[in-house]
Symmetry: C2
DNA sequence: GATCACACA
DNA sequence: TACTTGTGTGATC
DNA sequence: ATTCACAAC
DNA sequence: TACTGTTGTGAAT
């Protein structure tokens, strides 16, 4: 053939080869308590006192269901419709109401609009269910729960590690700034990157109008008619990103990239060796980035990644902010922050928490008794770690080696025709196969994703008989998954491979035949031999089952010694599971069970917690 | 990474895997006289008489330079600016002037506009140069030239083959019609396929407004504000194209695809075996296509591919037209057609010919004496074949086996930054490598193509030390070519590989060492051991050199016996070359030089002649 | 093991 | 005309 | 062997 | 915001 043609218009190519920079998005730290023991002077009492001072009698300040309950309002829907990224830097001064109104008017009646309404209703329902549960427990005595929670707080606080200077660096309006390099005239004009269909970012001029990431371009031009839209050019961003990373490497060869435009650095060693302050080191980093790329970056410095990330946003753009490695300062600073600021808490969770009157971090402490009863242990711990300002300070660039999935998905104008759907699937199969082969990976689980014309999303997965990365096989299995759904009208189709294994990996008997398999480039063993902790899945007695013997009234966690009431059976089990969680196990049990730190070091947790309330 | 993102907006994916349908565009038949001898009754006299009757004394009707000369006018520029596809079906009734005016106003001052102005100036200059040459010869005696030309006409006419029924089938508004399958509501509305940047086609409703292929979408919406634009979906078109081809195969298993939406069929055999008329067979084909795809096609039936193609446009859309296999009918029909109708004669050649007062095919005969002196032999023959309505009737689907190049090119927003240019090049190298490997090809010549921000196009080629399809090697050589041009600001970059060879081909000494090298999945030795033929370049006496012996006054072509004057040295050489042309050689010399028709049959010519005047 | 909703760049 | 793409995570069944 | 302009879908 | 992508051909150097 050769009818080959690309719709030149809006966007430009797809970003096919991502290998370069891990997406790994946020650093929410799903693990808790993974720091090496810090000092532990302050106790729970401090916490209680501090809060009592500031807010009167906390215990009696129980949530009022009437005030709390958030009905499914037009307002909540309009806010949702406005998109997920409304709290980014540069958007503080815009009139959110007006923006929401414009978006609402434009979107009226579209399939997207209706789907968003459906999803908004779903979270409203979820809130309603939560309120019902709240009604049932609101008169419970909170004291026993506070005892448990306060014990957790104490444990966590003791584990606090303030010894490291962690820095988070994030480029300002990254894609947009890169484009401005080639078109300097745009620097003073409102400009966004992407296409009329979707923007990936906007410069700060445009943000004044409410234009931002993940906003459709055609809505953006309604908000800002002078807006100039520049198409994506991923190769550019990858190229510039490389330059930035070269600077990072000077200050911390183990820097951890979180995306093309941001990374964590542990500058503790650099600070000591050069006898500089953390702030001056970071200032130097930003200066050097600017020299190499003519681009500005913002940075945050703090005792852990979570706080550093929050700090990098404080003086954005082209600024930096340090939160002292001091417990009181941290507690004081965090207290007043909106929970939404914390990575892992998005717009849905924010709304749910708001329904419990939890908006700022201090509210977490205030309502800890209620939250403890309504939330999953994991998520509750996640919250109190936020409240305490505790997070991971492990900085390690080990993304590719722990990659868990590879996928390809495409949106297109509606397709119903069977042959055309197959053709799309074939195309996507080939692309996925290419990516897998480029990364020298095979996979054993194939997931078909599809979005119907009404924007409803589904996934269908199948474990394959054997590991593969062959396009034909991928297509064949994908086709079976798709066939079960026909007929359908789709607007998106995707395939994702999970349960990955390196092509070089020795498999079964094959391992005896494999000869020197092309050592992967980054095998430099940077970290000292401190990796003596046991790997993840230690064979612990499965504590989710009730303890042997006759059912006692109270249960005590064999790991952290917390006591539970007999009625809290489910919660107790959840807690045990949590205590057996990798990081928890690591910090609390490691010393007892000396397990060989052999081959594969435990993969670091990569993202935040989601799905907050049971 | 994972910042992966596609500009969703306008277009959709690139059509990466073209393997499915050859592009091969037009069927202009650069070879002349490749038919097997037809009957030959009518002679040159017929031609002369017929023309003399219709137009008085032809010889004295010499071109008048004053009337002829076409100055570089605003008008010619506006016409050029309107684009290349203004003569397609459905566009006859539009007010071309108005459309041109709108386009002119919108494009004002853009880089594209200025580049088009430059190119228009170039053809104006070319015409001016041609006029100068015309001035020098306009008083020559035409008689001797007419003698030569008339001899050629006679030879050609004798070779005419009217024994075959060739049919050209072309889907109506193909991409647009496919999209209408999924969105039937669009059938009655003006609609185009592509994006705001570029359209690939438009339905017939939209064509009423002047909207057509290769028109930027944003201009189209100016011409037709209600226009609905649907993005390209190449997989769809490929899938539907397959269905259409299944129908073709029923009527001629050797059908020759020219693109996703058109093909030639030789239905002679089918007609005989089923005792049907060609028209009824074609009607049945179209009916069956409709049943299988719900799409309409148009068709032309004639004695050769050139005429069949022209005929398929006559009753488009959803119609067919047969030109009888009758010399007189053909001559009569062709006579009145604009030369622009013929594939191979585009807008530039049309304008150049117009400057010589050649607009309709009959004008070719009228001015044959002048044209013969001003044009290259090849092109002159091309023209008189058109005049005679003679073309190839060989229908053979052998595209992939004779593919001559594979390439990838991309347009993007301007890039100046060196690192970003390299990143783009790397991306394109990878894509080219993928395509080559998918087709199991390697290449030895790499051509870098680039378009500067002002739309000027350049190519830079290099013959590689060895055949390759490796991305790294491609990038490396491409980089060298690019480096020589830096610094530049580009809007497009492309790489194309030529001098291709199958991956399976044994190469040099390596063949002795290749031990079942990791049997690539497709090492199935499909082809038998017929590879005993001598390679392409048989050592023929190079006939471009002057004949041995003392220079005679007159030269006679050793192949076709035409005589040339001594002054026509250059022209004579050109003629000899032409006569030794593969197809010419094949049909005229083959019997003397019994060459085994083994393995690789001479690749059929695939396109038309261009570059008409010396 | 499979599906969903959420989060983030 | 146009509401993404790639990846990870926990809950649930 | 290289570069350019033209053509077609 | 936005003027394509793939292939082939002949002429000229
Ligand atoms: N929703 C998204 N979809 C696709 N790409 C995105 C999305 N959000 C951001 N990106 C891309 C474009 C951004 O320039 C780049 C870095 O994101 P991010 O750091 O959050 O914003 P930013 O760098 O553009 O502005 P800033 O950091 O100054 O707020 O990632
Ligand atoms: N300039 C171009 N660039 C890219 N793709 C094109 C171009 N021209 C045509 N195409 C694609 C889209 C067309 O639907 C398809 C077939 O082309 P063609 O047969 O010439 O027109 P068409 O089928 O759209 O209308 P019709 O044949 O009814 O005049 O090839
Ligand atoms: Mg950023
Ligand atoms: Mg970022
Ligand atoms: Mg067509
Ligand atoms: Mg066609």
């Amino acid at each position: 053939m050769s009818d080959a043609f690309v719709e030149s218009d809006a966007e430009g190519d797809f970003q096919e080869d991502i290998t370069d920079s891990p997406v790994v998005a946020e650093t929410g730290e799903a693990d808790f308590l993974d720091e090496e023991e810090g000092e532990h002077d302050n106790l729970l009492q401090d916490l209680q006192e501090a809060n009592a001072l500031q807010r009167g009698n906390v215990e009696s300040n129980a949530v009022d269901a009437r005030k709390v309950q958030q009905p499914e309002t037009i307002d909540s829907f309009k806010t949702r419709l406005a998109g997920p990224s409304t709290h980014k830097a540069g958007l503080d001064k815009v009139d959110k109401r007006k923006v929401e109104e414009v978006i609402y008017e434009i979107s009226q009646g579209s399939a997207f609009f209706e789907n968003e309404r459906r999803r908004d209703k779903a979270t409203s329902d979820r809130i309603a269910a939560l309120m019902e549960r709240y009604e049932k427990i609101k008169n419970n005595d909170l004291t026993p729960h506070h005892v448990v929670v306060d014990a957790m707080l104490e444990r966590l606080d003791r584990s606090r590690d303030l010894s490291q200077y962690i820095c988070h660096i994030d480029m300002d309006a990254f894609y947009a700034s890169v484009e401005e390099l080639d078109r300097p005239d745009l620097k003073t004009k409102p400009m966004a990157v992407g296409g009329m269909g979707m923007l990936t970012t906007a410069n700060y001029e445009a943000r004044k109008y409410g234009v931002r990431s993940a906003m459709p371009g055609y809505i953006a031009v309604k908000l800002c008619p002078q807006l100039i839209i520049v198409p994506n050019n991923f190769e550019k961003y990858i190229a510039i990103s490389k330059k930035v990373r070269e600077v990072f490497a000077i200050y911390d060869p183990n820097f951890q990239s979180m995306s093309l435009d941001e990374a964590y650095l542990n500058i503790t060693e650099y600070v000591e060796q050069h006898e500089m302050t953390p702030a001056s080191v970071v200032s130097e980093i930003r200066q050097r980035i600017f020299e190499q790329t003519k681009l500005t970056a913002s940075a945050g410095i703090a005792a852990n990644k979570m706080l550093a990330k929050i700090c990098s946003d404080v003086n954005k753009p082209n600024g930096q902010f340090q939160l002292p490695n001091d417990r009181a300062a941290i507690m004081e600073y965090v207290r007043g922050l909106s929970v939404r600021k914390f990575p892992g808490i998005g717009r849905v969770t924010e709304r749910v928490m708001e329904s419990l009157n939890v908006k700022k971090c201090e509210d977490i402490y205030t309502h800890r008794g209620i939250l403890y009863q309504l939330m999953t242990e994991v998520h509750f711990v996640f919250l109190i770690r936020i409240y305490l300002g505790i997070g991971s300070n492990e900085v390690a660039d080990d993304y590719e080696s722990h990659r868990k999935s590879v996928g390809v998905e495409r949106t297109f104008s509606n397709i119903s025709d069977r042959a055309s759907l197959y053709a799309k699937l074939d195309d996507i199969s080939k692309k996925l196969s290419e990516h897998l082969r480029a990364k020298e990976l095979k996979g054993k689980t194939l997931t078909l994703k599809f979005k119907k014309s009404n924007f409803e999303v589904y996934t269908r997965a199948k474990t394959l008989p054997k590991y593969t990365n062959a396009a034909a096989e991928i297509f064949e299995h994908g086709q079976r998954l798709l066939d079960a759904e026909l007929p359908v009208t789709l607007r998106l189709m995707g395939l994702r491979m999970t349960t990955l294994r390196s092509t070089h990996a020795n498999e079964g008997l094959m391992r005896f035949f494999s000869i020197a398999p092309n050592a992967s480039p980054n095998t430099s063993p940077v970290q000292p031999a401190q990796s003596t902790q046991p790997p993840q899945s230690v064979s612990f007695p499965t504590t989710t089952a009730p303890l042997p013997g006759s059912p006692p009234q109270d249960y005590t966690c064999p790991i952290c010694s917390v006591t539970f009431h007999s009625k809290d059976n489910h919660q107790f089990n959840a807690h045990i599971d949590l205590c057996l969680n990798r990081t928890e196990v690591k910090s609390l049990v490691a010393d007892e069970r000396k397990r060989k730190p052999i081959d594969s070091p435990a993969p670091p947790p990569q993202r935040s917690i989601t799905s907050f309330f049971k």
